[in-house]
């Protein structure tokens, strides 16, 4: 049976890193290669030994696809590609290709330089790994090889995030990565056509949540910012420059305009200056509103938001500063986790007197979003990763009920095998179609399926169903006929003709619905099977029945011979 196998190496039922193996039509594809940010040892990398115990992965994988630049989806990429070893193609969208190395380098710096770890990838490895990347455009079909093709769809979530459609022959899988079904201020919502994949693999981190509206989150955020500003204070908003920062900038700018606020807002220099450049470069990846206004003015060039200079740090407030994302291990990260005392190297302990607010603006799909995506894509099966099995039985039931499809929730290392039912379109010759239609009634009867006899000819990439005669003619072959004969002995005192008649009556009562004829030349014909009776030379009470049938009536012929071997029932005349 044709089947597709899916194995989450990370994700599965563990939120931390994504790395999914898919085997489809003889091809092996790895989807994402994330790092688990919660571990400091080898557990942070996916377990590649599942693919091969030692040695490079190149021979075992046809391609690797990265959905977006978040470290839990691409953090292990240089490790996998350069330290474990993979030389095959790596696919990702243009923005992901541009931004991935920045995050990877940042992460490497903190881990190696600040934390002093040794078994980690180097800057050169990041560069070498990115050389293997083939960038993808949206909605463009890319042939990985003769049989495997992939296509990227818009996923929302962050700049450049994509959902990927993978097709081999007539089997296909869609992997969503992280996606978002509601547009926000700078990104659109995920979208996919009715591609009807055999499996839709979706993240389900927020599948059992009902998300608070964006307006309320924004209200809370603006309220806190506003309160600080009114008191003359300073607000620090640590956020990754190419993640939610743009969203917050647009929000703050709009709010400043509406409330006629004058306090300065600063962006930290470095990455965030480049951010503007990236957004201009990848303007097609933002939402429609931004693209429309971009003609008049660049929405990423703000009136109230300017670059920060360290000398401003001691300026009296009010002001808002957006430094970058606080990677694990930094002071910022510690403060965000509630630490109120900081031990500084060589200096005394510092008390944290900041008021700390932790707010989430991440864009993920919730239960409603997942149902919406399923409605869009119409998959034949559903597979959920990133969730907890016990807490998702209801969602599983909901999906199975509403869409009548199976829903799978594999754990890490667990392989889900989905049997597919690929439909292969075949042309049928008009003659054959007409002939078969003439045999039965005007309408097909589901209670009486009929076997159709024909020949399937596969020429180049086309499949054709033609009548046997036509096939023989095309192939230049002669038709051979196979005829079976068998003798059955029967004890019967009657004359040959009477015995034959008794056989005829018997068969008529047993084989209702079949054409049975008793011909004057001394034969009984059942469909095309010929039955003759003759007496044995030694004993006239022993009758020898000769049955003869062609190969096409093999089943009926066998049945008749077994039936007649049992003898004729008494009382037949």
């Amino acid at each position: 049976m044709p089947e597709i196998k899916v194995t989450p190496l990370g994700a599965g039922q563990d939120v931390g890193r994504s790395c999914i193996l898919v085997s489809i039509g003889g091809k092996n594809i790895m989807l994402d290669c994330g790092m688990h940010m919660g571990y400091n040892d080898d557990r942070r990398f996916p377990d590649f030994s599942y693919i091969t115990q030692n040695g490079r992965l190149t021979d075992f994988l046809d391609c690797l696809i990265i959905s977006h630049f978040h470290l839990d989806h691409c953090g292990a990429l240089p490790y996998m590609s350069e330290m474990v070893g993979y030389d095959g193609p790596i696919y990702m969208t243009h923005p992901t290709k541009a931004i991935c190395p920045i995050l990877l380098e940042d992460f490497r710096k903190i881990t190696v330089d600040k934390k002093g770890e040794t078994n980690f990838f180097t800057s050169q490895m990041i560069k070498d790994c990115m050389k293997k990347v083939i960038p993808l455009n949206l909605h463009q079909t890319v042939q990985v090889d003769d049989e495997l093709e992939i296509k990227a769809y818009y996923a929302g979530h962050v700049l450049g995030a994509a959902m990927v459609h993978i097709k081999v022959g007539s089997e296909s899988v869609v992997y969503t990565g992280d996606y978002n079904m509601t547009p926000d201020r700078h990104l659109g919502a995920a979208w996919i056509d009715k591609c009807r994949p055999d499996i839709l693999i979706s993240e389900s981190t927020y599948a059992t949540t009902i998300r608070d509206s964006k307006r309320c989150r924004e209200r809370d955020f603006l309220k806190k910012v506003h309160e600080s500003i009114e008191r003359g204070g300073k607000v620090l908003i640590p956020v990754f420059a190419l993640g939610r920062a743009q969203e917050l900038c647009i929000l703050l700018e709009t709010f400043w305009e509406r409330m006629n606020l004058k306090a300065p807002i600063y962006f930290s220099t470095g990455l965030t200056e480049k951010a503007n450049h990236y957004y201009k470069l990848f303007i097609t990846w933002t939402n429609q509103k931004i693209r429309k206004t971009f003609v008049q003015r660049n929405m990423f060039e703000f009136k109230h938001i300017k670059a920060f200079d360290r000398s401003y740090a001691d300026n009296p407030g009010p002001m808002v500063i957006m430094p970058g994302y606080c990677v694990q291990g930094t002071i910022g990260h510690k403060i965000l986790n509630g630490q109120r005392k900081l031990e500084m190297e060589g200096r005394a302990t510092l008390d944290v007197k900041l008021q700390v607010e932790y707010m989430s603006f991440s864009a993920h799909a919730d239960a409603k979003g997942i149902m919406q995506l399923i409605r869009m894509a119409e998959p034949r099966n559903m597979l959920l990763v990133h969730g907890e099995a016990v807490k998702m039985e209801f969602l599983k039931g909901k999906i199975e009920q509403e869409f009548s499809i199976d829903c799978y929730m594999p754990a890490n290392g667990e392989t889900t095998t989905v049997t597919t039912n690929p439909s292969v379109p075949v042309d049928i010759s008009l003659n054959l179609l007409k002939r078969e239609m003439a045999l039965g009634g005007p309408l097909p009867d589901p209670k009486k399926p009929r076997t159709m006899h024909g020949t399937l000819i596969m020429k180049e990439n086309s499949l054709k169903l033609v009548s046997s005669e036509q096939a023989l003619k095309e192939l230049g072959l002669n038709e051979h006929q196979l005829r079976f004969t068998c003798h059955v002995q029967l004890q019967d005192p009657h004359s040959d003709a009477d015995t034959l008649h008794r056989i005829y009556t018997h068969l008529k009562s047993v084989l209702k619905g079949y054409t049975i004829q008793h011909l004057p030349d001394g034969t009984v014909i059942v469909e095309s099977i010929v039955i003759k009776v003759s007496s044995s030379a030694e004993d006239s009470n022993t009758k020898v029945l000769l049955l003869s049938w062609s190969y096409q009536d093999e089943d009926l012929g066998s049945f008749l011979s077994s039936l007649l071997k049992k003898g004729l029932p008494s009382g037949i005349c």
Binding site: T208, T209, D212, S213, C216, R219, V356, M359, V390, E393
Partner: protein, 399 residues
């Protein structure tokens, strides 16, 4: 040039005057206003609207759909951020968590949780039969139907009201009309008590005011008080109004002191009457509520605030939830102004069909947090809000 400027100014002014209401609405919804009116505000969109909101614990609530065929029952856990008191600022979680879910075969018009258990009882509004559900525990997130209780009527226009006995073994009081009210033991299905009366008035509310004493409010405004321990006839208090087409809804304050046990009755024409439980017919206070569309309502909910003295809340007349302070009411009915109005459902309605305006289907107070309410509307929205008392605005933080 001057003429042109003058003309423009005049147009602006006329525009403002003509659209006074919209302007006010705008102002009230401006950021500053929203900052100050609410301590917390969370807005959610369910896939399907709910008519029921019922606490199953201090931090979880049940909702259920009411479409004609299959519906979902969901148990939602309140966002951690709302409940966190100490580390509120470090808690980023603002979302409802669907902790348990199940499917029903019909609409759910009434849902009651049995205290001290993981059991809930529902009624579909089509008959007076009840469905019994297991809300699920740690091992599974599925809500399953475990049984049913036969009611008196196989067909009923409004369905049954249900009330769970506050303590003791799981028992439910239920009925579609006053003569049908019975107390059924869940485990055995045995009828432990029946209200003896001939009247066939349909019920609009049913609740226990103590462990054995209950109050049944009829749609015509009359109220019955009875004790499940006795078979004595119930006390009857007639309707405050004899008007035929007026429907009444009732709520009783379940206070610890008998003196705080008051009953409020609200009519579809916006009339509100407060009386003492021990003296329902006696002089209480009344008011004419400031409701937008009196007469056009079917799902009015009136509720005493559990911890704020004298405060009541009303919803169902429109997309607004109103809070009134009954201490300001007098013996003679006068127009009352609400202390606070939650207009979120009307203003940010997700409804696509403009001909039917969004209306609030239900609301509940948090049992402990003084000013926290949940409200649900016909467009599927569910709001959780902690309002600021306008009389105490700008003062010290509210407890």
């Amino acid at each position: 040039k001057q003429h042109y400027i003058q003309r423009r100014r005049r147009t602006k002014w006329t525009f403002a005057r003509r659209h006074q209401t919209t302007w006010n609405k705008h102002q009230e919804c401006s950021c500053r206003a929203v900052f100050e009116r609410y301590k917390d505000l969370h807005v959610y969109q369910l896939e399907h609207p709910t008519q029921v909101l019922e606490w199953t614990s201090g931090n979880s609530v049940c909702v259920a759909g009411y479409s004609q065929s299959k519906n979902e029952i969901l148990e939602l856990r309140l966002p951690l951020k709302l409940l966190a008191d100490e580390n509120k600022s470090l808690c980023a979680e603002r979302d409802f968590k669907v902790s348990h879910g199940g499917f029903t075969d019909g609409p759910v018009r009434c849902l009651t949780h049995i205290p001290g258990t993981r059991c809930a009882v529902t009624n579909d509004g089509l008959s007076s039969d009840l469905q019994v559900w297991d809300l699920g525990g740690e091992e599974s997130d599925v809500i399953r139907r475990t049984g049913s209780i036969k009611g008196k009527r196989s067909a009923s226009e409004r369905g049954s009201r249900i009330a769970a006995r506050p303590s003791s073994a799981p028992q439910v009081l239920h009925g579609a009309q006053i003569s049908d009210v019975q107390l059924t033991e869940l485990a055995s299905g045995e009828t432990l008590y029946k209200l003896e009366t001939d009247s066939a008035d349909p019920l609009s509310s049913l609740q226990f005011v103590s462990d054995t004493v209950f109050l049944a409010g009829c749609c015509n405004g009359s109220v019955y008080v009875a004790d499940t321990r006795t078979s004595a006839p119930p006390q009857l208090s007639h309707s405050p109004s004899s008007a035929e087409s007026v429907i009444w809804w009732t709520d009783a304050a379940a206070g610890p002191h008998p003196s705080s046990r008051r009953v409020i009755r609200v009519s579809s024409s916006g009339q509100a009457v407060v009386s003492d439980l021990r003296n329902l017919g006696g002089a209480g206070c009344q008011a004419q509520l400031d409701v937008q569309t009196p007469g056009r309502c079917s799902q009015v909910k009136v509720s005493w605030a559990p911890t704020l003295d004298d405060c009541i809340s009303v919803s169902g007349f429109s997309g607004v939830v109103q809070i009134y302070n009954t201490r300001l009411w007098g013996a003679e009915p006068q127009e009352a102004r609400p202390l606070f109005e939650h207009r979120g459902h009307a203003v940010s309605s997700q409804q696509t069909d403009d001909s039917v305006p969004t209306f609030v289907t239900s609301h509940i107070w948090h049992p402990e947090r003084p000013r926290t309410l949940l409200s649900a509307a016909s467009d599927g929205s569910v709001h959780v809000w902690d309002w600021v008392d306008p009389n105490r605005q700008g003062g010290s933080p509210t407890p």
